[in-house]
Amino acid sequence: MTYVRPTFRHPELTKNKLGYSVDYYEGALSTLCAGCGHDSISAAIVQTCFEMNIEPHRIAKLSGIGCSSKTPAYFLSNSHGFNSVHGRMPSVATGANMANRDLIYLGVSGDGDTASIGMGQFVHVVRRNLNMVYIVMNNGCYGLTKGQDSATADAGSKNKSGNVNLFQSIDLASLAIELGAGFVAQSFSGDKSQLIPLIKTAIKHQGFSFINVISPCVTFNNNVGSTKSYDYVRQHIEATATIDFVPMHSEIVAKYDEGTTAHVQMHDGSSLQLNKLSPDWNPQDRLSAMNALQTAKAKGEILTGLLYMDPNSQDLHQMLETNKQPLNTLTKKELCPGADALKNINASLR
């Protein structure tokens, strides 16, 4: 267990615009190992939803199987959640989203859950541009089955039992960009100041939002020689930009030097204010994003932050031209053609 949450709360704990304090967004006590990166990501999700004044019941949490996929039990206990089967969260999220386009769909998965057993569903949910947030808690191993290498383990990385991974790793962020995801970011469980604005933007983005979060497994993959350990990640992390999420109708406060500032306008009036650390990178250009990722990789760096964004992509509902009114609210009146229509159908079959 990562921490024992104090039961006493200060009565004047800060409340958000809805009148909820942050604990309203928490979940059950975590049963993950103390220090597990996944718990920090859960905390970032809690903080994000609190700060964004989201009604928890407007969120549906979905996951596959793994330590990472257990986390939806540990955040947002006032939201419905669905812990499905290993590698198949995308399909459940797709069906749920088709049924009700008005909720926010927050999918959580692991690197095993996404890059191995669930690779098929992952690439297809990206292609369909389902309007959801998809977070991979990436620790380079299968935590829940005791530390086997996953498909995101870097070639040459050593795990706790001393095994060196011989296979090339799958770079999920590059893949998502390649497949046309409208929002792709990378982050580190230990960097909440970066992760929270990224999740905020992901929630606001209309379409598929992907965040690959390096999230060390303290029990099986935090050793010397591992490229997913806390130490290794801290030493090799680089960011594309610092990022400020500016909600709709808010003033932009951060001021950066001319030339390093980038600004992305979102469909609902929110915007992103970026202070670019690498001048050649353009967040709205796929080629430039791919280039930045590959260049970082060649230098042995882990590139984090926003990688790519297309604020105007068409999501699956738009492509299928479904009703704006959620399908799960339609009744017999709208759905059933009725007995007279059936009489005509019968007549056409004689």
């Binding site: 006032n78 499905s84 049924a99």
Partner: protein
């Protein structure tokens, strides 16, 4: 031996064509004409797993008495595919007819002296009449339909009527088609004595019956039941279920001006994803379904276990085909009974429905949604290729406008407000069926975490053995409740009339009923029960109990339904005799009679020995 006895409204015609040559619509024209003359008719497509080039057959049975099963013994073959001539000549019954394209001389070895040969130079006629190669090909089919109309006494104006219905809006296609029909008629008139001793005569036997395939009826049933999300992966013979759903959705669910749709249809990347989407949508309060065949059901197993254990309504249409594996993918069977009943790992059982007519396909699809939501579990509609892809006579489809969708125990925001503490898996009513809540319903009440992992009544994770067992026992209680909700079997006799009984289901029904008549003519009376669902209810148990011997008729090798009866009802295996056909063709009454009589004579000689 030549039989010269005239047979009116009682014969089988078999068309031997090449796949992809446009024969399907001509052959359907033939069937429909007999239908419009008020006579029972049943066509069966026997087609290869191929798009173009391989042999394909279309068998049409005409029956004054109303028998709709397949019958052995072909009276007339229409052979337009030289590739299959040898087999086709063989298939004609002694005294029957072989109509063929005589543009090329037939090989002398193919001449049987107990068959009448009707050579029509179809290719020559069309080459002379048409210039466009495609037309030459297509109209060959229409020419033989014309010839058949003269040979079998089909009313010409009925054919004309069908053509004008078919080409409504494309009227200029009518005259060339009529012309092709006439070419066939003329040739017969000049060359043969007609009509043949097999022929049709107008009747009024059909009332207001319609002709439709089971898959279209299923797709329409899903529209009527209010399904809004369909996810699927193409597989024969199930594909046309979702295609029909999609076509009817274009008609009834799409705003004609804006194009906005009250439906979402997603072609998934595989069957795992398809069923996952269905589960996600149903969890979120929409009615959702998928259709597949045996291989797809195999892939869906893990998810079906989740839906069973997490209690998510799920509707799955299994259009069975000949397995195992790819088996004979375009042939029929009833061989997924076991796989569907117990799909998934751990202790799982699923509700199965067995339609036997298109009307039941329509009704039971609609009912599947009610049952899935009432019982909060997967419901699998077990149809098959024969029912799904062939056109069948059917009573008209019916819908009662006062019928409401039975959405089951779903809590509204108001109801949640009135509850002290919501327990997703609490057995409040004592029937094993808990209450569920849909995401987004209430700001602060009713949220819970759905999972396949064991949990307590409040959906809280637990590995406590007592909690786990209690939940599994409640699921069985729910199963028992479902016995009262699923459709009851159809029992043919009010009172017991025989020591022998038949149990059958689905498409075995047609031939089983005919077999009962045939046996009756030989003074062997049989009682019968048609299964419509699993779990079996008391009536099934009573029926087996009451009879000395029960023949379980089904279309698979292993007698799967017989096994299921034994497992679930603890029936005496000695009592249950399998009557089977598993060659990929629909079972026939002759096959049933033969197997039943063999068993009865065997046991009577045995009795004598004892």
């Amino acid at each position: 031996m030549l039989t010269n006895e005239t047979k009116v409204n009682d014969f089988v015609v078999r068309f031997a064509n090449v796949n992809g040559t446009g024969s399907a619509s001509a052959n359907f024209l033939f069937t429909k004409a007999i239908f419009r003359m008020g006579i029972f008719v049943t066509p069966k497509n026997i087609f290869p797993s191929n798009i173009q080039g391989l042999p394909t057959w279309y068998e049409v049975r005409v029956s004054e008495k109303g028998y709709l099963g397949r019958r052995e013994g072909v009276d007339l073959v229409v052979a337009v595919n030289p590739q299959s001539f040898v087999k086709d000549v063989e298939s004609v019954r002694p005294g029957g007819y072989f109509l063929y394209d005589s543009s090329k001389k037939i090989h002398p070895e193919l001449i049987r002296d107990d068959v009448t040969y009707l050579g029509i130079p179809l290719t020559d006629i069309c080459s002379k009449e048409y210039t466009d190669p495609r037309q030459r090909q297509l109209f060959k089919n229409i020419v033989y339909v014309g010839a058949l109309s003269a040979l079998l006494d089909i009313e010409f104006n009925v054919l004309e009527g069908l053509l004008s219905d078919q080409f409504k809006g494309k009227e200029k296609l009518i005259p060339p088609n009529v012309k092709a029909l006439q070419l066939g008629v003329e040739f017969v008139k000049q060359n043969f004595t007609y009509p043949l001793n097999i022929r049709v005569e107008r009747r009024d036997l059909l009332g207001d019956q319609i002709m439709i395939d089971g898959n279209s009826a299923c797709g329409l049933g899903a529209v009527y039941a209010g399904a809004t999300v369909a996810a699927w992966y193409p597989i024969t013979p199930s594909t046309s279920v979702v295609e029909a759903f999609s076509d009817y959705s274009d008609e009834f669910r799409t705003d004609k001006e804006t194009g906005v749709r009250n439906v979402a249809i997603v072609q998934a990347e595989d069957e795992l994803a398809a069923i996952g989407m269905v589960i996600g949508a149903n969890w979120n309060g929409a009615r959702s379904f998928t259709a597949t065949s045996g291989p797809g059901v195999s892939l869906m197993n893990e998810f079906l276990g989740l839906a069973y254990f997490a209690e998510v309504p799920t509707v799955l249409i299994d259009v069975q085909r000949t397995g195992p594996s790819t088996g004979m993918p375009t042939r029929t069977q009833q061989s997924d009974v076991m796989e569907a009943a117990y799909a998934s790992h751990g202790d799982t059982k699923h509700i199965l429905l067995f339609p036997s007519t298109p009307k039941e396909c329509f009704e039971m699809t609609a009912e599947a949604f009610d049952l899935a939501e009432q019982i909060q579990t997967p419901v699998i509609l077990m149809t098959d290729l024969d029912l799904g892809m062939n056109d069948h006579l059917s009573m008209p489809l019916e819908w009662d406008d006062t019928r409401e969708y039975k959405r089951g125990k779903v809590l509204s925001a108001d109801e949640l407000d009135q509850i002290q503490k919501f327990g997703r898996y609490l057995d409040v009513d004592g029937d094993g069926i808990p209450y569920r809540s849909i995401p987004g319903t209430h700001p602060s009440k009713g949220s819970y975490f759905t999972r396949g992992t064991s949990r307590d009544e409040y959906a809280k994770y637990t590995e406590d053995s007592d909690d786990y067992r209690k939940n599994m026992d409640r699921l069985i209680k729910k199963w028992n409740t479902s016995k009262k909700l699923v459709p009851t079997p159809f029992v043919y006799q009010q009172q017991k009339q025989s020591e022998y009984g038949f149990i059958f289901f689905g498409t075995s029904t047609y031939s089983a009923e005919e077999a009962m008549d045939m046996l009756k003519e030989e003074q062997i009376k049989i009682d019968a029960l048609r299964l419509k669902s699993f779990p079996f209810n008391q009536e099934v148990e009573n029926f087996i109990e009451a009879h000395e011997k029960v023949f379980v008729i089904e279309q698979n090798r292993d007698g799967q339904m017989r096994s299921l009866l034994m497992i679930e009802l603890d029936s005496n295996p000695q009592k249950l005799i399998s009557v089977l056909n598993y060659d990929g063709m629909p079972i026939t009454a002759e096959q049933i009679v033969k197997q039943v009589k063999k068993n009865l004579t065997l046991s009577s000689t045995l009795n004598k020995v004892i």
